[in-house]
Symmetry: C2
Subunit: 265 residues, 2 copies
């Protein structure tokens, strides 16, 4: 089994998950794998990202059929370059490593970390990778509110189709809002949990921005974590600002508390 770490600009994709008749990141990656490693190697991602959502480090596992790719040790760096040569410019394999035979990108993951970039400044270059919010935002109130998400909560108020999920209980282990020193026009929200519900991060961001605008107080936000509310659905933040930042597996170091605001670009 191989472990691939990928970054992608999701702007021109219908999300990660392979679909019939739609261009997806998994689809183009599977295509590159088929061309470089031969057909029959199955690709699994750590999880779906929605249409327009980006990744700084999505993880995929590559599962060959029994006996396939066993002619000797694989020249991993050459394979990585070969995959990149077969990928469009907005998808990039950052790393390719050997993994234990029971490694699975989705089942083995301990933690997913997402980041969301809100920009307080209109610029000609950042639009595909931020949510530009024109109203003044109070970032420290947003950070206080983000701390309310920590711990185990029922996030059904912040999830599309809550009744379609086995459980809407999620344990959030990391949740904070920062204004990066090197980029003070940005407000960066980062949230880590073992798993996420559909549209959950974008709805939490929408609620945080309501808090930052002064339209939503901490008591109301806490109530939405206790009782199901339909309000957060109206605040869903656009996918452009959302990045899957890291997926943590057993043995991996914890992600850094305060990362650079604009990795890779």
């Amino acid at each position: 089994v191989l472990k691939a770490t990928l970054e992608y600009d999701g702007t021109r994709y219908r999300g990660w998950q392979a679909q019939m008749n739609a261009r997806t990141v998994q689809g183009v990656f599977q295509g590159a794998v088929d061309q470089v490693l031969g057909e029959g190697v199955r690709v699994y991602g750590s999880g779906r990202t929605d249409a327009g959502v980006h990744a700084l480090a999505q993880v995929a596992s590559l599962h060959p059929r029994a006996g396939q790719l066993e002619a000797g040790p694989l020249p991993l760096e050459r394979l990585r370059q070969g995959l990149n040569d077969h990928l469009p410019p907005d998808v990039h394999v950052l790393a390719l490593e050997n993994a234990p035979p029971d490694f699975h990108a989705r089942h083995s993951a301990l933690l997913r970390l997402y980041r969301y970039r809100v920009s307080r400044r209109r610029t000609a270059f950042a639009k595909p990778w931020v949510w530009w919010v024109r109203d003044p935002l109070d970032a420290s109130r947003m950070n206080e509110a983000a701390r309310l998400f920590l711990g185990r909560h029922d996030f059904s108020s912040f999830c599309e189709n809550p009744d379609g999920h086995d459980s809407t209980l999620v344990e959030v282990s990391f949740s904070r809002v920062d204004v990066p020193e090197e980029c003070p026009e940005l407000i960066l929200f980062r949230i880590g949990a073992s798993h996420f519900l559909w549209k959950m991060v974008r709805r939490l961001v929408g609620a945080l921005v309501e808090v930052g605008r002064g339209r939503l107080g901490p008591a109301e936000l806490e109530r939405m974590l206790r009782e199901r509310s339909t309000a957060p659905a109206e605040w869903t933040a656009p996918p452009s600002g959302l990045f899957l930042e890291a997926v943590v597996y057993p043995g991996d170091p914890a992600p850094p508390e305060v990362p650079p605001a604009t990795p890779g670009f």
Copy 2:
């Protein structure tokens, strides 16, 4: 007369200069000016940028007809926001100021400064704004070669259609190659002159990259500045890496020697 400073992502434009049947930055900016200030205000840029070339600070002058816009002092910040509201997300008015009546974005300019970004790393996010060069490049040799451009030279070897220009003599006052500390995978070439010839910067960059690869020596490069050569045309660097960084007018401070590698994004 008003002076507007604009940034734009040139990826989806056929350059600055207005053209029939083509989407250009001047065209969309003139459209916004017509809607916000009323028809009849002519827009002139400091100079053309080619299709796919970007600007961090293109300057345009806005020339109303006699008597137009004279109802009192203009609310410049509101006008700037109004223009941005009428512009697509990849064009942004950074500043709008009053200028003397004889100010003209093109005729009054003393110096144009371009930057070119070469990336030594493939990434999923940077492609529209760099030239990704896979071969190892020697940045300090490139910097030594860039110094050869300083002073007054005949740049006909580095210009498309040299016989169509009044003169191919250009005085270059600034020319250097840096590796930005905060972004060591980039090689940044910056060149300043009173004016530039068609495709000149991209051909100089092409030659510098040949130097960086070790395929072109300083003596050959110097000869191309003395005798007309057709070789640089084959090395023309792609427009994606090129940015109009600044236009300097009388009274403006000089641009900084070493600017940030990635302003605005």
